[in-house]
Symmetry: C2
Subunit: 232 residues, 2 copies
DNA sequence: GTCTATACCTGGATAGAC
DNA sequence: GTCTATCCAGGTATAGAC
């Protein structure tokens, strides 16, 4: 539909000029914000258009319909979700690897809270549009990494723990600072989370994860003594 | 709020006959389900009415408007949210109290997943309607219980930990089995969570919480040795 | 490619008979 | 108290000039 000049004009994925990419990313950015605030049904095309600074009809020029725009927003987000698990390898130091993973997830919650909220919203409502991603990509990544953690445990480098559920816990504990930010703020008596709060939160979650694996954690007080039988 | 028969028939809160209560609870039940699936804006009055088995106009007879119905659903849910914290007292055994609290939260996720999802949805979207509850009731309950946990730590009965953030972690880790059920199922390769899954999940979260507090946990393998310096 | 004007429809809310 | 028929706002999507 936008067959520009050049050697290979696709039918599905069009070539995309520089301007087009710019407009699309502006729209996607606005859409992420709007969908994060009120969900798919709650957010309106008018709202997204005004936030992106262009007339409503232009959205339909770049994205056929609201649902297509929403899926594009989700696609944009999903790639973020698998990242950072690669630090979890057999050869890595468990404490360092887990700390790095938690830190990465916390950073994501801090820098892309809207992305997290759109994802959360979609999952809560049944994940109808991203079921394939969850069942295929995500579950296979988790399965791989869980094997690594099991291996660590069988070598006595960490305490035995249910590795798959550990992932659920890490995701929940980190994403709560984005998804449930308003609750966290209310309980802390703040209007929004500052950098100091997030540093504190990150340290806390790291402590929880490391202690859950029977690992001592630097700077967390006289918490858990080193595992009696460490072998490497 | 429920002035039954007697001297003073109010204008705002009406007396409520038995039938009225029945109808209202049927509507509330249907509404919770519908709002859980698609959020406030996504759920329609038509859908709720058909699920409750009565014509749409009747909803408006019992609840002035959609927003009022939604708030009623939320009110119904909020009371559940503060429950069970009373097990956390200075005199209690930390391991037992924390285990009981986690178990209670897991039970809530298992038995009232829709309630959890409606609550999550509201918080993600900014908690505009329950801000007062979060800032007043919830935060004060948390502040009280955090003092208890701090006291436990200062007495050396548990390892030092950020008590307020520990609550965030417990809520996140337990509610994820309701709110993110579709993700959990996808990763586990199931279509829905069975009793066995929830038992396993509950054991896992309990382990995480106890280990985070430097406490040994029964039946969780050779994880954390008892704290070296326990005083009571 | 961009924008204005508009068609079409869904969904909340109400009127008024029973 | 219950239900049918209807109103009307607001939202998606499109037509068609520029």
């Amino acid at each position: 539909m936008t067959p520009r000049s050049g050697p290979a004009p696709q039918l599905a994925a069009r070539p995309k000029g520089r301007v087009r990419r710019q407009q699309e990313s502006a729209i996607l950015k606005a859409a992420e914000r709007v969908f994060a605030r009120t969900g798919f049904e709650g957010g309106t095309m008018t709202e997204i258009a005004s936030l992106a600074g262009l007339p409503k009809a232009n959205l339909h020029y770049y994205f056929r319909c609201k649902d297509e725009l929403y899926r594009a927003v989700l696609d944009n987000i999903l790639s973020l979700w698998l990242a950072e698990t690669e630090v979890i390898t057999i050869d890595a130091d468990p404490a360092s690897a887990l700390s790095a993973y938690v830190a990465a997830k916390m950073r994501l919650s801090a820098t892309r809270p809207d992305a997290s909220r759109v994802f959360a919203n979609e999952v809560i409502h049944g994940a109808t549009r991203i079921g394939g991603f969850l069942r295929d990509e995500l579950s296979s990544v988790v399965a791989q990494r869980a094997l690594v953690i099991d291996q660590w445990a069988s070598e006595g480098r960490i305490a035995p723990i249910d590795a798959t559920h550990l992932f659920f816990t890490i995701w929940a504990a980190t994403q709560t600072y984005a998804d449930f930010e308003s609750q966290v703020c209310a309980v802390l008596g703040k209007t929004r989370l500052g950098k100091a709060d997030l540093v504190r939160a990150s340290a806390h979650v790291t402590t929880v994860v490391l202690r859950s694996c029977g690992l001592p954690c630097a700077g967390a007080g006289p918490a858990t003594p080193p595992l009696p039988s460490i072998s490497h």
